[in-house]
């Protein structure tokens, strides 16, 4: 049996590794961006000089031979589903028995005038770094359009080289379509503190041509203001990378449509990772979730299914993490943007200095906790997950809050501040238990 995988990102590689663990099938991974799997999430650190490209490769180069995973560095131009063959740009044809499509995302471009000028870039592929690097020399200002996770990373990259940055953000406050208001305001303040010129409630009208085909300024739609710059970063989200398929018998919507087992409408074709849209996402989750761990879990799930063990894709309770300049962010469970929804209560505490906060959201009536939102503070994933899964009451959580503490040793814990906030909110006086240490955590998790 020959399994071909298109795309050597986290999802394709996870599939390959798990198929190797579970079977003796022949495995071929074809990918055009880089010869070896590297961590896309670490792109910013290469530009910033924290790591070299080779440091972003999670496996040493000998790993693939040793595990008999055959790598082909080439671009798949088309797939013939009749004869089960792939046509590669340089290296001819490859036939397969089972095919896994794991081609990731592509950055959004919304048809802005000037979006194809020189000096306009995105941040997704390794090659995008080359472009940024090229235009960074003597750059007077970079303008970043889009206020998401990639936008803020790009801003941090330029800051690391002392290049002035303007961020043009559609929302009223940074990432306020995902974050609750207070946290969103905190990040907006933090961005300004780092001397980023943050333009909120602003849309891009056009990118100005300098006459030689190179971007020289952007114009803001709302004000008509012209901001001169030498590089424009378009970071307004991504979409599943499926355009390359062209006319295809594979059913697609926004992404390649797949069943719970990650199978497409064609029997021996599977799809995983960013390029996928689930036909039946779990309640409360979206059909397209372009993040790292979902790709990894899909890869593993798909491997089991291909190797004959039927499993449904189950990403568990939602969680994620990011870092906004110096503020780390973690989320567990269901946290809604803007104000806390009807029927829920939000216990929110923010540190005086305004760069750390804890939010615990629970249902008003039953008191059961539904989510945790953390800024500048680390909580333990398994503990939060168990609390949410078992519908633990917020009071129980607060009493045992030590269990979730994941900041380094000697860091202050903020449980008393949270108890106090809870008292102000509800009039209930609770007292916390001493639940410090991994011993207690292990016994809680195993109970």
């Amino acid at each position: 049996m020959h399994i071909a995988i298109i795309g050597n990102g986290i999802s394709g590689i996870s599939a390959a590794r798990w198929i190797r663990k579970l079977s003796d099938y022949k495995i071929t991974v074809i990918s055009s961006e880089s010869e070896y799997f590297f961590s896309r999430t670490a792109l910013m650190y290469i530009y910033m000089g924290h790591m070299r490209y080779e440091d972003t490769k999670p496996y040493e180069d000998w790993f693939w031979d040793k595990n008999r995973i055959n790598l082909i560095h080439d671009y798949v131009e088309s797939i013939d589903f009749q004869s089960d063959t792939l046509s590669l740009k340089d290296q001819g044809q490859i036939s397969y028995d089972q095919l896994i499509i794991a081609t990731g995302s592509a950055p959004n471009r919304f048809g802005w005038p000037g979006q194809d000028l020189k000096g306009v870039g995105s941040l997704y592929h390794l090659q995008d770094l080359g472009v940024m690097e090229h235009y960074s020399r003597d750059l007077s200002r970079a303008v970043i359009v889009g206020g998401g996770l990639i936008g803020i990373e790009m801003a941090e990259m330029f800051l690391s080289r002392d290049i002035p940055v303007t961020m043009v953000v559609r929302e009223k406050s940074f990432w306020d379509n995902i974050l609750p208001t207070e946290e969103s305001l905190m990040i907006s303040r933090h961005i300004v503190r780092h001397h980023i010129d943050l333009r909120l409630s602003s849309n891009l009208k056009e990118i100005v041509d300098d006459g030689a085909g190179r971007a020289s300024a952007v114009i803001i739609a709302e004000t008509g203001e012209k901001i001169p710059c030498g590089y424009v970063g378009l970071t307004a989200g991504v979409h599943p990378n499926i355009q390359w398929l062209g006319e295809t018998p594979i059913e697609t919507n926004r992404g390649i449509l797949v069943s719970d087992r990650l199978q497409t409408n064609i029997d021996n074709v599977w799809a995983i990772g960013d390029c996928v849209e689930l036909r039946n996402p779990m309640p409360g989750r979206r059909g397209v979730e372009a993040i790292w761990y979902t790709g990894r879990m899909m890869g593993e799930t798909c491997a089991y299914n291909i190797c004959g063990q039927e499993v449904s894709y189950d990403p568990g309770i939602w969680f994620n993490s990011a870092k906004f300049l110096d503020i780390e962010y973690q989320v567990y469970g269901d946290i809604r943007p803007y104000a806390t929804p009807e029927g829920q209560e939000s216990l929110y505490w923010e540190h005086l200095e305004g760069e750390k906060s804890v939010r615990i959201v629970y249902e008003k009536a039953s008191k059961k906790v539904v989510g945790f939102n953390l800024m500048g503070i680390r909580f333990r994933h398994e503990v939060c997950e168990q609390w949410i899964k078992t519908s633990t009451s917020v009071e129980e959580v607060l009493i045992n809050l030590d269990l979730a503490h994941f900041d380094p040793e000697f860091y202050q814990s903020y449980k008393n501040e949270l108890l106090e906030t809870y008292y102000k909110l509800t009039g209930h006086q609770l007292s916390a238990k001493e639940m410090n240490g991994l011993d207690k955590v292990l016994s809680f998790l195993n109970s």
């Binding site: 440091d55 002392d162 879990m297 110096d326 994941f406 240490g437 011993d439």
Partner: protein, 520 residues
Amino acid sequence: MSQPYKSMSLVHPNPKNLDIVQKAMIAISLLGLLLIVLAQEKSSYLLALSMLLISSGIIGFAWRSYLTRPSGIQNNGIWFRSISSRGILGWITGLILTFFYIILYWYPQYLGLGIEGAPNRGIVGFFDPLAMALKGTPASQWFVYGTLYTLAIFSFGIKFIWKYRHNRYQILRTISVMISQMFFAYLIPELLEGLNEEYSTKWFDKDLKNMWPLDYDFFDQWHIANMSSTGLLGWSVLIFSLLLIFVISPYLTYRYGKRWYCSWVCGCGGLAETAGDSFRHLSDKSLKSWKIERWLIHSILVFVVVMTIAVVYGYLGDDSSRYYITRTMFTVIVVSLLVVTGLIVRFWMKQAGRNDLNKVIYGILGLIGVILLINYLSGSGNAFFIDNYTFKKWYGLLIGATFSGVIGVGFYPLMGNRVWCRFGCPMAAILGLQQKFFSRFRITTNGNQCISCGNCSTYCEMGIDVRSYAQKGQDIIRASCVGCGICAAVCPRGVLRLENAGTDIFAKGLELRNNHVMVH
């Protein structure tokens, strides 16, 4: 197709240059060093001035680099700078350091050490006023080295604290190494030296934390004799050192892992963590270097143990009226110690139901064999069929000096700041074995949060591929981990935590914490 983005690792892009203040601070430090090298007269003022220039330059540089921006991870441009990316400056610094160590160990006369009663000149002479003030005798090359070493840990310690000022673990640990060096390794021993005339003729090591087997001649005849013949102080040091080696250290390592020593107390570790911090990412992360590391460091450990036993055996006699401990008694003690250790290990293995400890058992059995062999060959008491002291001399030259000094520090800018601690130190080897098999310490990973970015592996000074564990959701249990906590600090997703727990000590690290696919 061409390899993408190759340029990044080869050609340095336009890095942020040092600003004028930073350059001035470096110049001030260098001026201080220059003063030491060029000074012709002995003057306490000039000496004080040079110390002040060196440290204020370093501290001023740190202030300018870190305190003028918000707290947070400060790794921008590390791989672009010549000094910290094995560029020209890195090589030059490596060469100068190596050169310095060679002179220090083998040609101290070129540093101005007065030979055969002649007065000190040059650099060593320049430090005479301070040595006279502290202990009432002229300086030696070791005094000069100790002073500069302490100054480096102090100044770069402040730099490190400012760099990680948002991180209390880092701050406390750095204060701890600064105090250990300043007082236990430097001031207290030097002051004690001056208290009693006798100490200069009957020298023994008064740095309490410098323990066997790092201090490989602790059990030498002259050393034990000097300790046991200099009254209360000597005896106290002897007894405390023995307690430290056999009781306190195993206990602390059981509770907290080897970090209590390697990154909170030890002088070599102290220099690595402070002055060496800018080079931590240069350690090799490959599987191959891990293999070399395990062979090298454990061979050195075996050497030291056997050598020490042989040396002690060599100077003990059989006459119980002349020796506290006779050869036979000594053999019995050592063999019983080993047997007890072996039995404990067996017991753990049973408890944990694991057989990967067999190697340790074989090691212990092998050692017992060697000891009995030494006993059998007795008479001369020569292990390895050559004279024990010749063997020890070679150990001192190759491991004690060349490895720990010349390569250990000289190669900071080339192979990272923990070359010695990782590949050579027998102390690290012992503590590491204990850490791996019988300690509550481990690094836990935060469920599924790892994004495989690689910051942790890159900045692990011990060359541990932390990511390979974190991305599987597996706890990190590695003999070499010195618990510096930097992997946890640089992780942008809050995935790693150093912790201690006793309940699952036999099974720690075996479970995967990742949410993996459940097959029903």
